[in-house]
Subunit: 319 residues, 2 copies
Amino acid sequence: MAEQAPTTLGGLGEFGAVALFTKGLSAHPGVFLGPGDDAAVLEGAGRLVVSTDTMVEGVHFRRDWSTGLETGRKAVAAAGADVEAMGADPWTLLISLSAPADLPLTWLRFFHQGVLEECERSGFGLVGGDTTRSRDVTVAVTVVGRLDGEPVTRAGARPGDVVALRGRLGWAAAGLAVLARGFRSPRAAVAAQLAPEVPWGAGRQARLAGATAMVDVSDGLLADLGHVARASGVAVDLDAGAFEVAPVLATVAQATGRDPMDFVLTGGEDHALAATFATGAVPEGWTPVGRVQQPGPDGPRVTVDGAVREGGQGHDHFG
Amino acid sequence: MAEQAPTTLGGLGEFGAVALFTKGLSAHPGVFLGPGDDAAVLEGAGRLVVSTDTMVEGVHFRRDWSTGLETGRKAVAAAGADVEAMGADPWTLLISLSAPADLPLTWLRFFHQGVLEECERSGFGLVGGDTTRSRDVTVAVTVVGRLDGEPVTRAGARPGDVVALRGRLGWAAAGLAVLARGFRSPRAAVAAQLAPEVPWGAGRQARLAGATAMVDVSDGLLADLGHVARASGVAVDLDAGAFEVAPVLATVAQATGRDPMDFVLTGGEDHALAATFATGAVPEGWTPVGRVQQPGPDGPRVTVDGAVREGGQGHDHFG
């Protein structure tokens, strides 16, 4: 009897899954030893940036909404954006995949392809990972970036600086609102939820332009600028009129009875970058949207047109 | 009305959990910027070793068996052993914790303490992590080691080399056999299952002694030496009489109707190190247990007293 090819992760087995992930990986700059041993070996750069980020099925993605390809792309995008947010260059990446044994191999193959595609876009090289069994698909991604200068932290914003953005805001949140109602269009919003478009390279650009503080917008602009305000001991005031609200956001807002600015100000998961610059130093492609100010009697906070915005500032995964 | 202190992870919230993990972390060598920003910043060492490892509740640990303290210790031990297995020195570590909102804060606090305790034992410094929501507690640990020389891979074993071990073998498997029957003793075996004793520093020791190949025994000695045999293109023959079978293993074997050598040869999770050395180069504290040979007509494989051992060679988490 001919041996049947496996169709699930369980059929493939743990070592087979690792082999699938390591097959055909080409050499990546600075990687002395790639996957296949106990650990990868990297030729040390001067300064490194490391971060880890986890996506859980049913919390951050749904397999009935996202393909494996989109899930792989999103996992790299969400983790990799943190390297950009320090002003560093993407370098290497490790993936830890936990999944049920009946995970279809086609899903796994597309996931792998999505990881490689986003690695290609961003400049990360996959150097390691592991797979293990779990009830829900869980993807933990660790990213390592190289930094040939000072990191851009959240703590350097100074009163008088301009707050500027690069990348989309609100698209992923609008896509989620559409999916939650059982629709798949507008497709541009849905696609943004399933796999965000990170402005790769913008972190380095901001650092070289002298950004004083920077953050990856993963929890919503108000929440993430709140981190900058507290870390820097400043206030931030945004100018609502400075934001360009894309037509797709207006469409979804109208269909769902929401204010499009809700998506823009509190929607996470687009992984735009928000940074502060001295006046006149905002680089090309960045949109000025506000000012850094001395904190008032209420301390560090984020306001829109001088007022604290009603309702939430963003989402907390445990909220 | 007085605000009640939170008692669960959900009550604490995502940012509260991060704060709990980053509070009071002292400076660690080479860490330019610790937790609290988008990513940590490390001052590059010459050569780095990176690896990631995941533990899932119900698969790798059970909360009714393991305390938070033990789970934290085991997470660091299991991941950190991969750095040792390359011959590198522990340096920094990132933890990604996914857990249900009703996770008790006491568990989380003990988990954190366990992480710090094993970091202290091993030399790792915690520099980052994230927390997110999931049905089952899932801990993904990424470890970064420093290497001031050549890595000891799985591929360098040469015919004539001695195979030697450092650390325990079979204790964790014996502990699992005890727990699976509803017992909590012998306590030494149970403790080994809940939090292994990694021979920290032995990886560097082996590298400096000229180890030609090395592997972390996480899947069972036969399975892991099988990786070495295939990567090196050699055969490995173990001498059953060379293994010291601890009394606790004999006790558990008798109580569970098993052969104690099953625990020793196929039990994983103790994170002993197995390495190959030129004759005469086996360093202090290591036990010679076999020889590397030219592969026979059956190719690279692992035998015991010249014969392939009946039954499994180790465990596959998806098997």
